[in-house]
Symmetry: C2
Subunit: 227 residues, 2 copies
């Protein structure tokens, strides 16, 4: 369970304060499929980085399965991230001089999974996103959409309990978008909690619940009627 | 005028050949507004890189305003790119340790525009994309959509005759997408040739002509009826 109470985030640059999040309250139950929408710059990625323990709030509290995240030291945070959370970054964040396969293996290396099993699971994850023919390509030998799918395969390979995906289909065409969303629905049906950021109505249509942001605040939080 | 005849592009990796473009014929007249669509991996970015003289075809010929591009040396190509072509990359390609303003000034520095005029034109370009309040931010202090808008402002700032935009609205919400497309239509009305890659029907709807790719080939090339 994700339990966010009165969380604010303020960035201080040279001469100005940017209030990216303004006292946000949000609870997400285990096994939910939630879409977060909102204009460019409204605080969606900032929230996802906090939920994924990649960034700390300026104010307020965040509990993950009842445990206050601010009480965890870096070692425990790193273990929590590696074993419980899969993250698809908005900017992909692939390792440039590594193949698609090696990129997907990275979280398994941190998780001390033996080499043969690592390779098998990474290959399977790449096949599930339609990249069976591109495993040896480096990021700069892949198209934009293919790079995004490598990032998705990497986030799924550890079979996390929580999948956080920030605009996971931004570089994909409508057909591939549907394929990836069906994959996320399979993972959701098997019990995974999935939180995704999107500005595409086609993607939000798959979610059970849609949370909308505007200027750092939640302006609506509704069950998705169309599902 | 862009005149592409029987252009192919083959990437050779360690053990396999990837045919990204297969004998493509395409002519784009001055002042057209053309959208290129197609599945992920179908060759769209490869074509844009060739049109923008950032990459060379493996086979076939490319003439820009009647001049065979393969006959130009690197100095002439660089001058042609800087003065005639604006490019919005699919991966933004911003300079990390530079502000948004400095990033937009880069093409004007190459074009030897004096400092005061440079600053004025870069500020105006950033305001046109709605980033008047973020000029001093570095790329890692901007949201995904804001970074994309900096890349758009940089491509427009030299007032090129040809604007090439590769998924220019991939990180933008529907409202901002409309704002950017209206901006592109203004530029098009003032005589600029605009070629954009998109997988979003909302964006293709603005174009005069829609060219569709599949597996490295053009499968359709039609006037847009809905405009
Ligand atoms: N440097 C390279 N070496 C090998 N293959 C490459 C290289 N660059 C691209 N490719 C391959 O060429 C094909 C075309 O890539 P391209 O980037 O043009 O696709 P795209 O249509 O832009 O796709 P997307 O919508 O995902 O951005 C892809 O299958 C890709 O894997
Ligand atoms: N390191 C930083 N320093 C200063 N301001 C920042 C920083 N990171 C983000 N911001 C600002 O915080 C606000 C929220 O950014 P965020 O990345 O959460 O937006 P977003 O909703 O994900 O937008 P997009 O849809 O464009 O990705 C933006 O206005 C952005 O300029
Ligand atoms: Mg974002
Ligand atoms: Mg591309």
């Amino acid at each position: 369970v994700i339990d966010i109470r009165a969380v604010s985030k303020v960035y201080r640059t040279s001469d100005v304060e940017v209030h990216a999040l303004r006292s946000v309250d949000l609870t997400i139950q285990r096994g939910e499929l939630v879409a977060i929408m909102g204009q460019s710059g409204s605080g969606k990625s900032t929230l996802m980085n906090i939920i994924g323990t990649l960034d700390k709030p300026t104010d307020g509290s965040y509990r993950l399965d009842g445990v206050p995240v601010e009480d965890l030291d870096e070692t425990n945070l790193a273990r929590l991230r590696n074993q419980k959370i899969g993250f698809v970054f908005q900017s992909f964040n692939l390792l440039p001089r590594h193949t698609a396969l090696a990129n997907v293996e990275v979280p398994l290396v941190y998780g001390r999974v033996p080499k043969a099993e690592r390779k098998r699971r990474a290959e399977e994850s790449l096949r599930r996103v339609g990249l069976g023919e591109r495993m040896d390509h480096h990021p700069n030998q892949l198209s934009g959409g293919q790079q995004q799918r490598v990032a998705i395969a990497r986030a799924m390979v550890t079979q996390p309990v929580l999948l956080l995906a920030d605009e996971p289909t931004g570089a994909l065409d409508t057909e591939m978008t549907d394929q990836i969303m069906k994959l996320f629905c399979d993972l959701h049906r098997s019990g995974m909690t999935v939180v995704l950021v999107t500005h595409e109505p086609q993607v939000a249509g798959y979610a059970e619940r849609i949370v909308r942001f505007r200027d750092g605040r939640i302006v609506s939080d509704e069950q998705n009627q169309e599902r």
